[in-house]
């Protein structure tokens, strides 16, 4: 009885392996529009979903897109639940300690957002600052932000570059509140539980457009430093073959204009890199 049961169990397990043995499994979150999200029929859509199919065509491989909650994304990759991450994940030094990244395929600035009428609206800062080597204007902007955000609750999605930036202390001591998904951050920004929120600027404009809520961007846009160097494909460190394959595919897709085309379709501007 036990023998037959364990045999049956093994057969079930092995069936799932053989089905996906030579496909590349790509993990995405499905809750970070316009990078990746789900439509009304529950189908995965978005910039990265479309780009993933394009890259797989260039690699001449079959792919499966696997859904994974953001907070378990890197552990799931390491545990081999899938082979690559395409989930709006920025290339940062911290993440590179655990996994490798392909070259970046898109880049997008981060920004603070508040509700219209907030005291944090219309801060006196430059349009954008780069934190890799902050110049005088950038340092001044950080000071302005530090003063404005003191004691305020700023909401971010957990384990993101946005959380890292707020935790770094560059804008002083703020009340950082972390959420499982960007959807939840948006909800609580609109409900007034958050004084401000920090995420990719498009995440907010996408939300404002679809929900009709008066969400506005404020302060400078951020890039460099804690915000990383663009978004790339995350791959296990020992998987150099796949890493090279992705890099070559990204080269081809960029040369043929696929990345710009898909990016413009989803972002409304060319976010490719």
């Amino acid at each position: 009885m036990i023998k037959r049961f364990s045999l049956g169990l093994l057969i079930t397990l092995f069936l799932t392996i053989s089905a996906n043995a030579d496909k590349i499994r790509i993990g995405t979150e499905g809750a970070y529009p316009p990078w990746n999200s789900k439509d009304e029929s529950g189908k995965l859509i978005g910039f990265e979903v479309e780009l993933a199919w394009a890259l797989c065509r260039y690699m001449g491989k079959q792919c499966v897109i696997v859904e994974q909650d953001w907070d378990g994304m890197i552990p799931a990759l390491i545990m081999r639940k899938f082979d690559a991450i395409m989930a709006g994940m920025s290339i940062t030094a911290e993440r590179q300690k655990a996994i490798s990244f392909s070259q970046g395929y898109a880049d997008e600035v981060a920004s603070l957002a508040v509700m219209k009428g907030s005291s944090l609206e219309g801060l006196d800062t430059p349009a954008g600052i780069n934190l890799t080597k902050p110049n005088a204007a950038a340092k001044k902007a950080l000071k302005t932000l530090t003063a404005a955000l003191a004691g305020k609750t700023v909401c971010v999605q957990t384990a993101t570059i946005h959380q890292n930036f707020l935790d770094s202390g560059d804008v002083g001591k703020v009340n950082v509140r972390t959420y499982k998904t960007q959807d939840e951050v948006n909800l609580d920004l609109a409900s007034g539980r958050c004084d401000a929120a920090l995420a990719a600027a498009v995440a907010f404009s996408d939300y404002a457009e679809k929900s009709g809520k008066p969400v506005v961007l404020t302060g400078p846009t951020f890039s460099g430093g804690a915000f990383g160097n663009g978004v790339g494909v995350g791959i296990r460190k020992d998987d150099t073959e796949l890493l090279n394959a992705f890099n070559r595919a990204i080269d081809k897709a960029r040369k043929n204009g696929d990345i710009s085309r898909i990016a413009t379709k989803w972002f409304g501007f060319d976010a490719s890199m």
Binding site: I17, G30, K81, K210
Partner: protein, 230 residues
């Protein structure tokens, strides 16, 4: 009500399938739980101290740690453990366990700890005289167990097993972390996509209430059927 429309425009069909998934996972988990209980109940009742320790550790640890942590551990460690076992037999490829099996096992292990306690209590409340009676009659041990103990144990256990079923059913709401699309995850996705969490979470609550209500009706019938003769 457009939100609940079937087809590509609403979430009706998705939620319907998600409800079926919740039922399927609950039943599978309950069954896996029974298998665990079948192993651990004798261990818990054993006079051997070592077996006893194993049996007690299982129920104590599983019932003493949040379900969410057990599920996380299973989700992250499950395939690793299976691969480790497979590597002992010389199989080194990646083994993918699908979300349904992962989820059912995680909930099943939890459910099994509660079932074990119920079976233990039921067996212990069976009159000792019956054991002596079977000995006098010269019944073999397994005949005694399957023909004398089991029927009585099941009858005594049914009311408490209905509690275990309720716990199991509700615990399935936590396996959304494994990516399995059951009621809770589907509501979560729908709430995120439509930005209407109040509607979808309330609807999820109604679905769970319906499931608990209907299953209790069913169990009550079983109870009446099996308590005939008492």
């Amino acid at each position: 009500m457009g939100l609940l429309a079937f087809g590509d425009t609403g979430w009706g069909d998705e939620l319907f399938y998600a409800t079926l998934m919740t039922i399927a996972v609950s039943i599978t988990a309950m069954f896996i739980g029974f298998l665990f209980a079948l192993i651990f109940t004798p261990l818990k009742l054993s006079k051997n101290k070592f077996f006893n320790l194993i049996g007690n550790s299982y129920t104590t640890v599983i019932r003493g740690v949040p379900e969410l942590l057990v599920i996380y551990l299973f989700f992250f460690g499950g395939s690793g453990a299976v691969m480790y076992v497979a590597s002992i037999f010389g199989y080194n490829e990646y083994i993918e366990i699908n979300a349904f099996i992962t989820g059912s096992f995680a909930i099943g292990i939890i459910s099994g700890a509660y079932s074990t306690e119920v079976f233990r209590g039921a067996i212990q409340s069976i009159d000792k005289g019956q054991f002596e009676a079977s000995q006098v009659l010269g019944l073999k041990r397994f005949v005694y167990f399957f023909k004398v103990i089991m029927p009585q144990m099941l009858r005594l256990a049914i009311p408490n097993l209905s509690n275990v079923w309720q716990i199991t059913l509700k615990d399935t709401s936590l396996i959304s972390v494994t990516g399995l699309v059951e009621i809770m995850r589907q509501s979560y996705i729908a709430a995120g996509s439509t930005r209407d969490p109040l509607f979808f979470y309330s609807f999820a609550a109604v679905l769970y209430l319906l499931l608990t209500f209907l299953s209790m009706k069913l169990i009550n019938r079983l109870e009446i059927k099996y308590s005939r003769g008492f």
